[in-house]
Symmetry: C2
Amino acid sequence: MNDDNAAARVIQDLRAAAAGSPPGSRLPTVRELTARHQASPITVSRAIRALAAEGLLDTQPGRGTFVAARAAAAVPAPDLSWQSIALGPRPAGEDAMSALLAVPRPGTIPLSSGYLDEDLQPAATLGAALARAARHPSSWQRGPAEGREDLRAWFARGAGALRAEDFVICPGGQAALSTAFRALAAPGDTVLVESPTYLGALAAARAAGLRVVPVPADNAGVRPDLLAAALGRTGARLFYCQPMFANPHGATLAPGRRERVLAEVRAAGAFLLEDDYARDLAIDADPPPPLVCGDTDGHVVYLRSLTKSAAPGLRVAAIGARGPAGARLRAARVLDDFFVSGPLQQAALDFVTSPAWPRHLRALRAALRTRRDALLDAIRRHLPALDPPSVPRGGLHAWLRLPDGADDVAVTTAAAARHVVVFPGRPWYAAEPDAPHLRLTFAAAPPALLDEGVHRLAQALLD
Amino acid sequence: MNDDNAAARVIQDLRAAAAGSPPGSRLPTVRELTARHQASPITVSRAIRALAAEGLLDTQPGRGTFVAARAAAAVPAPDLSWQSIALGPRPAGEDAMSALLAVPRPGTIPLSSGYLDEDLQPAATLGAALARAARHPSSWQRGPAEGREDLRAWFARGAGALRAEDFVICPGGQAALSTAFRALAAPGDTVLVESPTYLGALAAARAAGLRVVPVPADNAGVRPDLLAAALGRTGARLFYCQPMFANPHGATLAPGRRERVLAEVRAAGAFLLEDDYARDLAIDADPPPPLVCGDTDGHVVYLRSLTKSAAPGLRVAAIGARGPAGARLRAARVLDDFFVSGPLQQAALDFVTSPAWPRHLRALRAALRTRRDALLDAIRRHLPALDPPSVPRGGLHAWLRLPDGADDVAVTTAAAARHVVVFPGRPWYAAEPDAPHLRLTFAAAPPALLDEGVHRLAQALLD
């Protein structure tokens, strides 16, 4: 069986090489194929003879093996055009998502990223925790579909009336969002979002077939008067927001607005999906408690992720809700991917309950403060004509307003030509933007690079 | 900050304790709270005073801290009834999924499981691979959203014309299915499924808003004549099947039917979603190549998972398709959970490209053969009056036909009373079952337990 597998691999390899090379091209030698596929020379020779018999290869004893003249002709070009009919119209918003997740090319200055820079990630601690977890045979077993009870209990701390059993562990915050929009609303329903807001949430809501209606936010977070108006006008049963250090605009819902927002949601018989993505990313002061702490009757669905706080590879988040909504979420999560890998759950729990966790958060806060201040300094220095962004008190981003009439997408392109990656403001709006903006990330580069990045951005703005 | 956090933790802890205990209950001492939350005695005392000021606690100097009489009254029972209006009707099929994923209680005989038994999992090898991967700082970084190129190339081997770039790595096969039904069809569309078929696919298709129409399969797999009729009658553009060792019925699509099935799908301008879940679970002979190898024009969407072949915790699968369908899938996967954890991807690649992989597959084949034969023997011995199931040539399950008129769900309940877990046949059908069945898993218990389990099942059938 092992030999059969090896033969299949060699054949696969040679077929691919023959299909991808012009007739007459030399193919790897028996010796090379033997090493590459851990196959015996007999197996390799047999594979070559089989393909020669098919007319795909020419073997020339003493010289080697070559792509046969007819090989190219033997593989007709596939006709995939029928797929357009079968698939129908393409969903919107996917381009922005792939831009969001594109890995910056080496040598570029990343002023756009959703994650902590490598230097800020506790990779050694996480690595040790995962290595320990990996070696527990029990961690490879199937646990409860909703995730480890102890890890859910950790997420339930500080989440108001939510208990461990109200939560389900998810492979990251995006997974939780995608499921939540589908579980808590039906295609054609309206979802309200603060505006601007996280584009991954916009895309997930649209993919769920929802009508996305923006509710403007200002420096004090979403405007309760407009939220009330939108709830009344649309009959929406779901409102998505990031009350703390919102992505991209950085504002935190002001203390005076918190109770009003909850009251409007309550009065409308609606859910508030609280995406508490930046709980561990406070810079200037300890963060306020999440809105869910003020929720008496199960209106707030609460989402928190460790991916932003630790490293992209620690894909562990949790979403919680009381009552039927919680049951609906947990059932939908199971359909979406069963459960999260046991070793990752165990490593996450070990990390957040160890002394390394508060140490990491302290170091992170200091580093984010340094970088945020460096970015704001650089903006004041190199872009003195622009309104300086309001100071983000946490999170990873500053929200830079461009001059009226500027084209944020064109500026992004001009910056890319100068090897600086920024994110345009437009995709963060569910409808027309109020003004052109750029989102500038301060977490993904050290201070000196931030300065150079803004310097080049200033030049790009003159283009 | 640390002290503030500690204070918040102590307050949270005491609030929870007060909410969950009757008035007069004694709460933990200052000393206990100091140790539990790594907080200073001053911080703990301050937290207790704050809650006493709220009227939640009574402090009795020299005696301790107690839940105040008014505390219970201070927390009104939440009113969650409004949620029923906001959420609307409940989706069907969720109960079967939770039964599928329930972890059997200790002491029961598991004749139902979707995964290999602990004894058959290569936990030590996987653990070593993941421990190595965890210690590479780079593996915690963000890689390409579609997954590692080398791992995708591994999945592309033996998958016909599909190349690495046609694949996207997913956190398990269920995630791939859930995304595929949403990406390749729109709510209200019809999807055809072989019948009976994997209930997780039925549930995911229904959750995607699809109309699920069954196409009967027999011992030679799905019937091409009925597939042609169903494609013609419904206009479906998507057909889901497991051509090899289908779950639950175990049949493999006969050689004589493969080309006909592909031809019907081609003629209808439809996609065939090939769920090759049992590629590594062949028992009696090397498996036939997947259908995708005979696909010239991008009709087959190919899904393969490592979770079934290795361990539940190795949540790594891949789904691939050419042309716009592949692009659609990759874009939808990003919306659903961004990307799969780097250390898990690296561990999976290390494992499947190491000499341990073919060794594991050989050992697995031998063990599955022993267990399958033991289960079939036990059925012949203890249930001689029933038609013996046709011999599954791979996979994890046998499909036992019950006498006409038997109630498969009642039998399942009676077996559970005798501490044997089996799965009823009904949830595996998209419509009315042709006959009552049970799905009996041979992979999840050693031979002696299989015999005892079938013995008890025979008794349950007499109940």
